[in-house]
Amino acid sequence: MVEQHNHYLPVLALVVAAFGVAAAMLGINALLGPKRRAADGPAVKLEPFECGSVPIQLDNRRRVSVKFYLVAILFVMFDLEVVLLYPWAVVYRDLGWFGFAELLAFMLSVVVGLAYAWRKGGLEWR
């Protein structure tokens, strides 16, 4: 059973590499970086620096603009479309021109959706 999953080894390598890079960036920084913290001086060193004055707003989270909402929704829709191209791309040599025509028909209505979103200014930043 394990042998059947050998083609997932690249995925494992990718996961290990991703965690490795992140751990290296944090770990090497923690090992080699200078450690002059609150223990070495006044706690004011840990506060955000704001031109010498008292910081106005320590909580720096901001609401993200609602303008991104349509972008996010359209991304989801076109992501769903692209993911359906994946099984087609694997077998399109076997399917030949018929499969190509099927995919063109599929793409047509999605492209109509793209044209509609474009025409209505859905891709504009406003």
Binding site: V76, F106, K120
Partner: protein, 212 residues
């Protein structure tokens, strides 16, 4: 049975992610927990031979749906305490759902302990992947691709119309269409006067519409 051990590992991690999502107070931490659950489920799908499902789980759920979830959290800027507003939802939806799930699992465990076979269905092959006798290549991307563009080509084409409806609905509901803007303005009451506030209220409704 190394593969069974991995299966239990992934499923335990998925459950742990779900528990973390409920237990963590900060919405972003909960979202990251949910992401872990989705990735572990993708690994479980791959181990069950549903390779395309695993790919879809990663690209659609861990990719696209999580974008929406995190975006809504950041849009509404929910604090850690705002989660209490959903307590009644937890009680009235969560407890029946948990009861159904636990009863299904208990039935499976009962049959396994008694040595009888439950009616084949959900979860029946977990723990013994070899028990599921599948044809060669079942669940691979190539076999599903052949079925999708062969036997099931009509549903495949209809899916594109569904996507078109989703795109048009998204553009309309976010008010890019002037008629849609007018309708939304009437629904909110004050229209553009409230600016972000009015549109932010419309945003979760759009998300639910997509999820349904």
């Amino acid at each position: 049975m190394t593969s069974s051990a991995f299966m239990y590992l992934f499923l335990a991690a998925a459950v742990a992610g779900g528990v973390g999502m409920l237990a963590l107070r900060h919405p972003i931490h909960a979202a990251v927990s949910l992401l872990g659950t989705m990735l572990c489920l993708a690994a479980a799908y791959a181990m069950l031979g549903a390779h395309l499902m695993a790919v879809f789980q990663v690209i659609i759920y861990a990719g696209a749906i999580m974008v929406l979830v995190v975006y809504i959290i950041m849009l509404l800027d929910l604090g850690s305490d705002d989660a209490r507003a959903f307590r009644s939802v937890k009680v009235f939806v969560g407890i029946p759902a948990a009861t159904v799930l636990v009863s299904v699992l208990a039935r499976l465990a009962w049959h396994r302990a008694a040595g009888t076979e439950p009616r084949p269905g959900l979860l029946s092959s977990i723990g013994d992947p070899a028990a599921a006798a599948l044809p060669e290549g079942f669940g691979t991307v190539a076999s599903i691709g052949r079925d999708l563009l062969g036997r099931y080509v009509v549903p495949f084409e209809v899916t594109s119309v569904l996507l078109l409806a989703g795109i048009v609905g998204a553009v309309y509901l976010t008010g890019r269409d002037s008629a849609g803007l007018k309708a939304q303005g009437n629904a909110v009451g004050e229209g553009k006067g409230t600016g972000d506030g009015g549109q932010a209220e419309g945003a979760p409704a759009g998300g639910e519409e997509f999820a349904a």
